[in-house]
């Protein structure tokens, strides 16, 4: 196994542990926004998609990259907006009186 791969696996495992510790503290109340919000974050694949598309020396690469950028961007924008839409509905008692 190459040294790079080992480093990358180390990063992956450590990030997973951080993720578990942070996400354990999210209350049940907010689990739906957590899922849509994490969907937005997993749209980070757009970075890889941009690199494939930007390199675009062949038509196939350009098509694959374009479709990948579009789908990843759907996740990013759709995920963040829908999460925000849900989160602004969570109000305390005082806010609930705004009719």
């Amino acid at each position: 196994m190459s040294e790079t791969l080992v480093t990358l696996i180390v990063i992956f495992v450590l990030a997973m542990i951080v993720g578990i510790e942070v996400i354990k503290k999210v209350p049940t109340l907010l689990h739906t926004p957590l899922m849509s919000g994490s969907n937005a974050i997993s749209g980070i694949t757009i970075i890889g998609a941009m690199i494939v598309l930007g390199w675009g020396k062949t038509t196939l690469a350009a098509i694959l990259g374009f479709v990948a950028v579009a789908f990843a961007m759907f996740n990013v924008v759709g995920g963040y907006l829908v999460t925000d839409r849900m989160l602004q509905m969570f109000k305390k008692k005082e806010g609930g009186d705004a009719k």
Binding site: T4, T32, M35, L81
Partner: protein, 463 residues
Amino acid sequence: MKVALMDFAYLAAAVLFITGLKWLSAPATARKGNFLSSFGMLLAILVTLFDKHILSYWGILAGVVVGGSLGAWAARTVKMTAMPQMVAILNGFGGLASLLVSAGEWHRLALSDFPFPTNVAISIYASSIIGAVTFSGSLVAAGKLQEIISGRPVLFKGQHILNAVLFLACLGLATYLTMHTANPYAFLALNILALVLGVLLVIPIGGADMPVVICLLNSYSGIAAATTGFIINNHGLIITGALVGASGIILTQIMCKAMNRSLANVLFGGFGAASTTGGPAGTAAKGTVRQINAEDAAASLAYAESVAFVPGYGLAVAQAQHVARELGELLEKRGVKVTYGIHPVAGRMPGHMNVLLAEANVPYDKLLDMEVINPHFERTDVVVVVGANDVVNPAARNDPSSPLYGMPILDVDKARQIIFMKRSLNPGFAGIDNELFYNEKTSMLFGDAAKMLAALVTEVKQV
């Protein structure tokens, strides 16, 4: 831009994501957290534009505009009841993006004369398999939730063997490709097999178990993103993908625990199939059922000191959240203490019922989790169960022969009076009789949830 500088920018983005998730642990800071996270994403995207591999920007701009505007449209128009489907689709798109990136990288490397570095090859095939399974599996899950595809488990003989064979075939092809690089037919076959595998893995799972499946696919979509990071050697992508992977795993565990099922049982069980063996449900002590009318029910509610609503998905199906909130407010004006007890599987995904009630303007501090509200039932005067059934069935506590036995439930039978709103005496989703119907403290209020709640509102006003 220098490579090291770019890596630092990706690290900053990852820190923003983690902080954003941390702020999601309290409703007061959650919106800010989401904003912070989106800022991290913007940073990551802007920095990538400086990547030396990027030669053309027009395609990127077009992809961003097309995907972004469709995403914004979906986010604005989706109904809150359809949120599980939305999340399933987002999971699927994440998987597809990873699949396409790995295909693109494979294509680029295949054109060069050098053999694939082994670690990149392994990453590409892992990303393809996980991305493809996530994509096709999520589409099936979304189809089941939207009821385009039957929610019933699709079972056939030799299903598990076929899945095992497909999985081994994928691994075999991936190994072959890793050793003898750049056979486009083998790579295409790998992707197709993985797509088929994704469909076959999800079709045997019943509609009631979809909450677990979308959590698991959420995790896969994160892991797929992380494997993409392994391909292009990008730490930011790996960290971020791992975070999402972890989130999905935690939610999967929570949902399995709330349903008292192991993950293996959910994935292979075919629970709720037409041919289900069914537990000996007849053991519940049958007795007389007491009925109540809206007028009497309204009187007990109006003169109670404390009332707890226990909503199930039936409430959302009847679109009765708003009437329920109206009734709650009316009672509060009379000095009644009103709370809502939310079972983890009350909706169609983790936290779904909370979102539906928040949409109906119920303040979130009245939404109590199962663990929080359970000790309070003893001192609650009236519990109103609307559109829920299995999650309040005492058989889960005291009847070892019941299929529900061991599932954590809301202990509504400990309250002083229970008003059970239901269309008829038909058993719930899992087809299990509920002894609570025959409890002497229980009164059944038969009818459509929305109409009955509206009737209660009218009657309470007249008390």
